[in-house]
Symmetry: C2
Subunit: 271 residues, 2 copies
DNA sequence: TAGTGGTCTAGACCACCGA
DNA sequence: CGGTGGTCTAGACCACTAA
């Protein structure tokens, strides 16, 4: 239980960026918690980095020192740091050391107003179910789900709005053969209040992976009207196939978004 | 060096999906190789899975057995399997075991012809440099790079084609202050033959992360002409900010794609 | 040459799952 | 209950980097 905040501040030129902090100031581990030690450490460090207490460029001590400052073994400390590397928060180089990564700017990319902005601006997104029921699988959905065209599927069309304006039309197809997803598994009320993915999880479906394709095309007259856009406006399209942890296709969705008010953002780490 | 392909085929009902194979049939480790043992194992397993030698649903032995079949310690075997979990190729459940995941279908999503299809169809992509030089940073690029508007930047516009038709116009801005990227670092010839990212790596830049925003809008008259599309056609847009391993912004790109012939595909693992 | 992270080992105990 | 993966420890040697 010894955890004196040892401060190493040797003579000579001041260190590049901080180093007056010690892990003990930032991380406290609870050995009685059911949360794994490495995860406690990783979370604490992530919080500290995101809060700026470990600023960009901050040089961390080597993993052996850190480990015994916290009273942990080296592998455990290491696992915590690997977690942060995977998240892109720190960089480690053999023979060099570990430094905190510069936070990404992100928000400078918002050239147009985004869905997230609308949500952040206080307007909660709302969902309206336009249709819901069992219907014969169209060719597109049948191919995605790997079944015969015409097989009955849960079929639903939802309109997603934010800030009082429609943003997206989402069409989803789900097989009726999965446990917990028999006919009648979905209701308009639940879909509008709970959301599809939460309902799936509640039904015992474990989402594991998804493939998405993002494209664009011009809106049809009907789509322009539905999404409150000009005729022939550009739409973002997204098709998604979602799989559960046994590799079964759980859902196929084909969605269109009003491109003037919506865009997709992604962050990638080194390939 | 004992590596007999031990086969476990107990009495009773035939196992669900395979189990007549052993790791020894699929993985051979070379302790003299500089390649880490866990990585050798992970690669061999990945290859076997993707080749179908370990079919979807295949149940792997527990990690202790696997480890000593290969003459490895449990942590090393474990690290190999964690690698495969991260790649989404296997699923592990405590108290249950490890199984090979169903391969994703992917290709059923190609509703429209994609860039990849064109490349796969034999037409190599080609790049034409439309302009290249130093220019004052426009507001958009200055914001993304975190510098003052008007700062001189490497500025380049490239036209990417496939199957003899233009597909994308890519506009990139790069600071001149990074080591190896002074004025004159880029030439038309190198860009057309080598590609921007490869040139960056050669200049000693280590790409680490990127933020992307994908949207859509209608083409201007000039863009329609350049990309060989109808007037007002839908375009996919993508802005990207790339960072090096010190968190410095390396590049800002703003690109437009002919949506009738291009789309983005992504695969996601459980969040 | 000194210090760093990368890899590897051989144990241990535990939480969870299904029969 | 037995078997599984999840966590943790305390060492060891090595490859790489920088001074």
């Amino acid at each position: 239980m010894s955890r004196q905040p040892v401060r190493r501040e040797p003579e000579g030129p001041p260190p590049a960026a901080g180093s007056a902090l010690t892990l003990g100031d930032v991380v406290v581990v609870d050995r009685n918690s059911p949360v794994p030690l490495y995860y406690q450490v990783a979370q604490a460090l992530q919080t500290a980095i995101e809060a700026g207490r470990l600023p960009p460029g901050f040089r961390l001590d080597n993993e052996i020192q850190l480990a015994d400052e916290l009273g942990l073994s080296r592998p455990t400390m290491r696992k915590a740091m690997e977690y942060l590397v995977d998240k892109g928060l720190i960089i480690r180089r053999r023979g060099v050391g570990t430094t905190v990564v510069q936070p990404k700017v992100r928000r400078s990319l918002q050239l147009t107003s985004l869905y997230d902005d609308l949500v952040a601006a206080g307007q909660e997104p709302a969902t309206t179910v336009l249709s819901l029921g069992l219907a014969a699988a169209p060719r597109e959905a049948a191919e995605a789900l790997g079944i015969a065209t015409g097989t009955p599927l849960h079929t639903m069309v939802r309109l997603r709005s934010a800030a009082g304006r429609p943003i997206a039309r989402m069409t989803n197809y789900l097989p009726t053969t999965l446990p917990g997803l028999g006919p009648g598994a979905f209701t308009v009320e639940a879909l509008e209040s709970t959301g599809l993915y939460r309902m799936l999880r509640a039904a015992g479906v474990t989402l594991h992976a998804a493939d998405e394709t993002i494209g664009a095309r011009k809106a049809t007259a009907q789509e322009s009207h539905l999404l409150d856009e000009a005729r022939g406006a550009a739409l973002l399209t997204m098709q998604r196939v979602a799989y559960d942890d046994r590799g079964r296709v759980v859902e196929y969705g084909s969605h269109v978004y009003a491109a003037s008010r919506y865009s997709f953002s992604l962050s990638l780490l080194a390939t």
